[in-house]
C-alpha cells in the first residue's frame, strides 16, 4: 500500500472526487468573506461616524460589529477551512473523497445555520458572549452540519492508503475533533446548564482562545506544512521535531485561554496558568519556525515565485507575531496599558486574518486550478489581491499596535476625560477603516477571479494567467514530488 497517489492520474482522480464539495464550500466562504467584510467595514466606520446606520436597530454598532465577526469566523473561516481540509485530507490519505453528495447537504445546513445566526444577532437575539453570539438554536444546526463534515474528514483519514501520517494530517485530525468539543462544551456550560458568575467569562475565554488556536491556527499550519515542502521540492527541515511541536502546541494552547482574563475578577491562578501556557507555547513556535523557515532557507527566490508560498510566508510570519503578541499581552505591566484597547482586538485579528485567512488564500491559488482544471483568468486581479493583503496586513499591525499603545496610555491617565480619548482615537479608527477597505478590495479582486474560473459556462479559451513563470504553478512540475514527500524518511 505504498502511496499509490504517487502517480499523477490517481492524484487527479482524488482532485476530481473533491471538486464539487470543495467548490461549494469555498464559494460560500468567499461570499461570506465579502458580506462579512462589508459589515465589518461599516462597523469600523461607525466608530468615527457615529451617525452611520444608527437609526435602525438592526445595524446599530453593538449588533453590526459582532454580526460581522460571526459572518467572517463561521461563514468565511469555517467554510474555507472545510474546503481546504477535506481536499488535503483526501490527497494526503491517498484516497478519494467518497459520497461527496452528503457534503452538499452539510454545506447547505452549515450555511443555513450561519445565515440564521447572523440574522439572529442583527435582529436582537444575540447572547453577547464573544464568538457565541448566535442564538442558541443555531448551535444545533451548526453542530449537526459539522458532524457530517468532521465525520468525512476523519473517515477519509481512517481509510488512508498511506503508511505514514504526515504533519499536516495531525493538525487537520486534531482540529477536526477540537472544534466540536470546544463548541459543544461552551454551549452546554453557557446556555444549556449555565455556570454561575464569573465562570461564564472563563468558559468564554477558553472557547475563544481554543477556537483561534486549536482550530484556525492548526488549519493554517496544515497549509504551511504541506505547501512549503511540496512547492520547494525538499523535505521539511528537522522534521523529527515536528511531532513534539504538535503536541506541545496543542497542550499549551488549550491551557492558554485564561491569559485573556488578566486583571479580571476571577481567581488569580486562572490568568496565571494562561500566562505560563503562553510562555510555553514559545517552544512549539520555535520548533515550527525551525521546521518551516528551515525548509525555506536557501530557497527564497523560488518561494517568491510562487504565489501560494508568498501567502504562506505572510501566514507564517503572522503566526510567530501572534505568539509574540499573546506573550506581550501576558506581561502584566504591558497588559495593564494595552488591555481593552484596539491592540487587544489586533491579537485575534492577527491569528484569524493574518495567519489563517492568508494561508487559505495561498491554498486556494494552488488548489482551485487543480480542481477545476482551469487557470486563473487575470494576473492583474491576482496582483491586486496579493498586494492588498500584504500591504493591509503590514499597515494593520503597525498602525494598531501604535494606536493601542496611545489609547492605553490615555485610558490609564485618569486626568484625561473620556471624550478626549475618543477624539485622539478618531484618526486611528479612520485609519482602520481605510485598511479594512483596502483588504476588502483585495477580496473583491479574488472573488471576481474565482468566479471567472469556476463559472461552468466559461469555455472561452484565454491564455492562462500566471503569477510568475509556469514551473511553480503547473501540476506537472509537482507530480514527481507528489506524496512521496513525507517530510523526512529513511
Amino acid at each position: 500500500m505504498n502511496s499509490p497517489a504517487n502517480n499523477r492520474s490517481e492524484q487527479m482522480e482524488i482532485d476530481a472526487s473533491a471538486r464539487w464539495p470543495v467548490l461549494v464550500f469555498f464559494g460560500s466562504a468567499l461570499l461570506w468573506l465579502l458580506l462579512g467584510g462589508v459589515m465589518q467595514l461599516a462597523a469600523a466606520m461607525q466608530l468615527h461616524q457615529p451617525g452611520l446606520l444608527a437609526a435602525d436597530e438592526w445595524t446599530t454598532h453593538g449588533r453590526l460589529a459582532p454580526a460581522a465577526q460571526n459572518a467572517l469566523v463561521y461563514g468565511w473561516g469555517m467554510n474555507a477551512a472545510f474546503a481546504f481540509g477535506l481536499w488535503l485530507m483526501a490527497r494526503l490519505s491517498a484516497t478519494t473523497l467518497r459520497h461527496g453528495g452528503w457534503l452538499f447537504v452539510a454545506a447547505k445546513f452549515w450555511n443555513l445555520g450561519v445565515t440564521l445566526g447572523v440574522l439572529g444577532i442583527l435582529g436582537g437575539y444575540s447572547t453577547s458572549f464573544e464568538l457565541l453570539e448566535m442564538p442558541r438554536f443555531v448551535s444545533l444546526i451548526l453542530l449537526a452540519a459539522y458532524a457530517l463534515i468532521g465525520v468525512w474528514a476523519v473517515t477519509t483519514f481512517s481509510i488512508r492508503n498511506t503508511e505514514n501520517v504526515y504533519a499536516s494530517q495531525w493538525y487537520l485530525f486534531g482540529a477536526a475533533f477540537w472544534f466540536p468539543w470546544l463548541y459543544a462544551i461552551a454551549q452546554v456550560m453557557l446556555f444549556k446548564a449555565p455556570v454561575r458568575g464569573v465562570l461564564q467569562p472563563v468558559v468564554n475565554a477558553w472557547y475563544a482562545h481554543g477556537l483561534y488556536n486549536l482550530w484556525f491556527v492548526p488549519v493554517a499550519l496544515t497549509a504551511a506544512y504541506y505547501f512549503l515542502p511540496k512547492i520547494l521540492g525538499k523535505p521539511v527541515a528537522n522534521y523529527y521535531l515536528a511531532p513534539l511541536a504538535f503536541w506541545w502546541l496543542a497542550i499549551t494552547s488549550a491551557f492558554a485561554g485564561g491569559s485573556r482574563l488578566i486583571g479580571a475578577p476571577v481567581p488569580v491562578w486562572i490568568p496565571t496558568l494562561g500566562i505560563a501556557a503562553n510562555m510555553l507555547v514559545v517552544v512549539a513556535v520555535v520548533i515550527i519556525g525551525l521546521n518551516l523557515f528551515g525548509t525555506l532557507a536557501g530557497r527564497q527566490a523560488e518561494a517568491r515565485n510562487s504565489l501560494t508560498l508568498r501567502f504562506i510566508i505572510i501566514s507564517l510570519v503572522s503566526f510567530v507575531l501572534a505568539a509574540v503578541m499573546n506573550l506581550a499581552l501576558s506581561m502584566r505591566g504591558f497588559a495593564a496599558t494595552v488591555q481593552f484597547t484596539v491592540f487587544d482586538g489586533l491579537r485575534d485579528w492577527l491569528t484569524f486574518y493574518a495567519c489563517f485567512s492568508t494561508a487559505m488564500f495561498g491554498a486556494a491559488y494552488f488548489m482551485l486550478p487543480r480542481l477545476t482544471g482551469r487557470e486563473w483568468r487575470s494576473p492583474a486581479l491576482i496582483k491586486a489581491h496579493f498586494g492588498a493583503t500584504a500591504l493591509g496586513v503590514g499597515l494593520m499591525i503597525a498602525g494598531l499596535t501604535y494606536a493601542g499603545w496611545i489609547q492605553g496610555k490615555l485610558l490609564n491617565d485618569a486626568a484625561v476625560p473620556f471624550a478626549e480619548i475618543t477624539k485622539a482615537m478618531a484618526p486611528w479608527f479612520a485609519y482602520r477603516t481605510v485598511v479594512l477597505g483596502l483588504l476588502l478590495l483585495g477580496h473583491v479582486a479574488f472573488l471576481i477571479n474565482f468566479l471567472g474560473m469556476a463559472c461552468p459556462f466559461n469555455f472561452a479559451k484565454v491564455p492562462d494567467a500566471l503569477f510568475r513563470a509556469p514551473p511553480d504553478l503547473s501540476p506537472e512540475a509537482h507530480a514527481p514530488v507528489g506524496h512521496s514527500l513525507k517530510g523526512v524518511g529513511p
Binding site: 459582532p66 453577547s128 501520517v165 486534531g174
Partner: protein, 222 residues
C-alpha cells in the same frame, strides 16, 4: 506518528485535560459562591436584580453594549480604573453571582459600566434616569464628543397635539429635540435598560475579599 488511535487519544486527552484543569477546577473553587450575610444588619449581598433590571439586562445583551463597554473594575496597581472613579474598589467574583449572564467585556471604546449606577453624584435617581435617557436618545446632548451611537429606536416620538403631554417625555435641548409639537417618550425597553444600568453598583465591600485583595504593606527600606 502512524497510529490513528494513539493520535485520537492524544487529541482527546489534550482538550479533556484543559477542560478539567481549567473549567472544572474553577467551577469547584467558585461555582458555589453564595451571598454574604452582613453580620451587622443581617442583609444579604450582592442583592438580586429587580425584575425590571433583569429585563434590562436582556436589552443590554440584545443591543450588544458589551461590544464597547466592560463591566469589570481592575484593582489598585493594575490600570487606573479606581482613579477614573469607575468604582470604589476592584471587582470581586462574588459581585457577579447575582447576574444571570456575566459580560465582563473586552473593549473600552466607552467607559466601564460596572458601577455606572453609583455615579449619580447629587442627582436624585429620577434625574439620573433622565440623564441615561438623554444619553441613549442623543448621546451628544449629555456627553459632548462621544462616539456612542444614538439609540433613538428605543424611544417613541409622537405629536403632543390634541392630548395631554406624557409625564415621561424627555426635556431635550432644542438642538437635539425632534421638532416643535413632538415629544420623545422612552419605550418599555428603554425603561428596562435604564433600570438595569442604574442597578449596576457594587458598593458593598466584602470583608473576606477585602482582606484577600489588599496588597501587603511595603516594608520600609525597600
Amino acid at each position: 506518528m502512524k497510529n490513528g488511535l494513539a493520535l485520537f487519544l492524544g487529541v482527546f486527552a489534550t482538550l479533556a485535560l484543559s477542560w478539567a484543569g481549567l473549567l472544572l477546577t474553577a467551577h469547584r473553587q467558585i461555582g458555589g459562591l453564595s451571598q454574604f450575610k452582613d453580620p451587622a444588619d443581617d442583609t444579604l449581598h450582592p442583592q438580586p436584580l429587580s425584575g425590571l433590571a433583569d429585563q434590562g439586562r436582556l436589552v443590554y445583551q440584545d443591543l450588544g453594549c458589551v461590544t464597547c463597554h466592560t463591566q469589570q473594575v481592575r484593582h489598585e496597581g493594575f490600570g487606573s480604573d479606581l482613579a477614573r472613579k469607575w468604582g470604589e474598589r476592584g471587582s470581586y467574583a462574588r459581585d457577579y453571582i447575582r447576574d444571570q449572564t456575566v459580560l465582563l467585556g473586552q473593549n473600552r471604546l466607552g467607559p466601564d459600566l460596572r458601577n455606572v449606577g453609583a455615579r449619580l453624584g447629587d442627582a436624585r435617581p429620577e434625574e439620573y434616569a433622565e440623564w441615561f435617557y438623554k444619553l441613549l436618545y442623543a448621546p451628544q446632548s449629555v456627553a459632548a464628543g462621544t462616539n456612542m451611537p444614538a439609540h433613538a429606536f428605543l424611544f417613541d416620538v409622537h405629536p403632543v397635539a390634541g392630548r395631554q403631554p406624557s409625564a415621561h417625555a424627555l426635556a431635550l435641548p432644542s438642538k437635539f429635540a425632534p421638532g416643535s409639537g413632538l415629544e420623545v417618550v422612552p419605550t418599555a425597553r428603554a425603561v428596562a435598560l435604564v433600570a438595569y444600568l442604574q442597578s449596576l453598583k457594587d458598593t458593598y465591600d466584602y470583608p473576606i475579599e477585602r482582606s484577600r485583595n489588599t496588597p501587603a504593606p511595603k516594608k520600609a527600606g525597600h
